[in-house]
Structure formats: structure tokens, C-alpha cells
């Protein structure tokens, strides 16, 4: 959730609370002095405009908050760390399988890796040997 959205939520909560309270006070006063005679026509019985507008504004801000809580989906590529961020400019994930897997292609991951990289059959000794050689080569270079 983005900062803008949180801000909208906070302000709208305040505004809505305030408008609710104003509305409560108005109706409370109306109860205390019920319009009972012919003069009442001139007395306001409708909610004052400013309270109404405040409710509308609070509502609008809340809806904006909900919508700005959506952010364009972003991904980091798997294999390089140069800070590049991939985005297709969508707020939601595409549902067609051939499009959905494109995200994997762009990121460079393989969703079936658990099968095709055969992780259970990794030869630990060979792996360690490679890294050892790599490390010693690195040291030589540094010298």
C-alpha cells in the first residue's frame, strides 16, 4: 500500500468522523427544539449543506484511498542485481496462462524449476569443488 493511499485513508477517516459528529449534533439539537408550530417552516430541518458536502468529500477521499492502494505490479529479475525493475504496467495479474507465464519469462525464472532443475540430485561435492576453484582464482587475481 502506497503512502498516498494511507494519507487518503487517514484524512477521509478524520473528515468522515467530523461530519458524522456534526450530523449527530445537528440532529440532537433538532430533537431538543422540535419544530412544532407553523413557524417551523422557516426553521431548518434538513441537514445543513456544509455537513453534506463534508460527507461527500470524506467518501470521495476514501474511494481515492482504496484505488490508490493499487500499484502497478513490479518484479525484480532473478539473475542480475543491477537494480532493474520489471513492470508490465498492469495493476492486476493477467489470467490467460500463456500471458501469465510471460512474467516468469521476463523475470527469468522457471515455474517448473522444482522438476527440471532436479534439485534433489545435486552433486554437493562437485558444486563445492567449483566454488572452491572460483574462490582461489579470485584470490589469485586480487594478488
Amino acid at each position: 500500500m502506497s503512502l498516498t493511499s494511507k494519507l487518503f485513508y487517514a484524512v477521509s477517516a478524520l473528515v468522515l468522523f467530523h461530519s458524522g459528529f456534526s450530523s449527530y449534533e445537528f440532529h440532537h439539537l433538532l430533537k431538543l427544539n422540535p419544530p412544532h408550530n407553523a413557524q417551523s417552516a422557516s426553521v431548518i430541518t434538513d441537514l445543513p449543506k456544509d455537513i453534506k458536502y463534508e460527507v461527500y468529500v470524506g467518501l470521495l477521499l476514501f474511494i481515492l484511498g482504496v484505488f490508490t492502494s493499487f500499484e502497478k505490479l513490479q518484479y525484480l529479475p532473478i539473475e542480475n542485481n543491477d537494480g532493474m525493475i520489471i513492470s508490465q504496467g498492469n495493476y492486476l495479474k493477467e489470467i490467460a496462462l500463456n500471458k501469465a507465464t510471460n512474467v516468469n519469462n521476463l523475470v527469468g525464472s522457471n515455474p517448473n524449476g522444482e522438476v527440471i532443475f532436479s534439485p534433489s540430485f545435486v552433486d554437493v561435492h562437485a558444486k563445492r569443488k567449483i566454488t572452491r576453484e572460483w574462490a582461489s582464482n579470485n584470490e589469485k587475481k586480487e594478488k
Binding site: 468522515l16 441537514l47 498492469n90 496462462l97
Partner: protein, 108 residues
């Protein structure tokens, strides 16, 4: 085999379908509740309240299609009209009525 061949390109990624529905539901749930609360604050009564909900609920849905789906709801929902406008209608209207009566009683 021919049926099989047809269906392959029309497959959907189930995870994404569920995910998108969840996000839509969040929008509709929260908006319905706040709409109800606002209706209560404004002391709206009887049919007007339902009209208020109907109009604004659809406005929000349209906004969702325009803003979040970028006018291509078919890309993200299997049957856009059904999924966005009708599927959770009763769920939302009950939520709305609950918040509405709550707000109304609180103020009145």
C-alpha cells in the same frame, strides 16, 4: 485430441484469477461499508438509500474498470460483467444495509 488442442491456448492461470477476484472484493467490501456509513450520516431513508447505493456502487465498479483494469477487464477477469458487477452484489448490499442502519442509529 482436437478438443484438447483447442483448450490449451485458452487455459487460465488459476492463481491469478483468484488473486484478481480477491482484490476486487476488497474494493467492493470496503466501499460498500463506507457508502453505508455515509448514508447513515446523511440520514437517508427508505428507497433513497438503496438508490444511493445502486448509483454509487456502479460508479465505483465503472471506475474500477477504467482505472484498475485499464479498460481491458477481459484480460483480468473470466467474465468481466458478471464478475465485477453482479457476483458480489448481494454480499455488498447486505454489508451496505448493515453499515447504513448502524450509522443511522448512531446519529439519529
Amino acid at each position: 485430441m482436437s478438443l484438447n488442442e483447442e483448450s490449451f491456448s485458452k487455459l487460465n492461470a488459476t492463481v491469478n484469477v483468484v488473486d484478481n477476484k480477491k482484490r476486487l472484493l476488497f474494493v467492493q467490501d470496503s466501499c460498500a461499508l463506507v457508502l453505508g456509513l455515509a448514508a447513515g450520516f446523511l440520514q437517508i431513508e427508505s428507497v433513497n438509500g438503496f438508490l444511493w447505493f445502486l448509483v454509487l456502487y456502479n460508479v465505483i465498479n465503472v471506475l474500477y474498470v477504467v482505472w484498475i483494469c485499464q479498460l481491458q477487464p477481459g484480460k483480468f477477469y473470466q467474465s468481466p460483467i458478471q464478475d465485477i458487477f453482479f457476483e458480489s452484489f448481494f454480499r455488498e448490499i447486505t454489508g451496505f444495509v448493515m453499515a447504513w442502519t448502524f450509522g443511522y442509529a448512531l446519529i439519529g
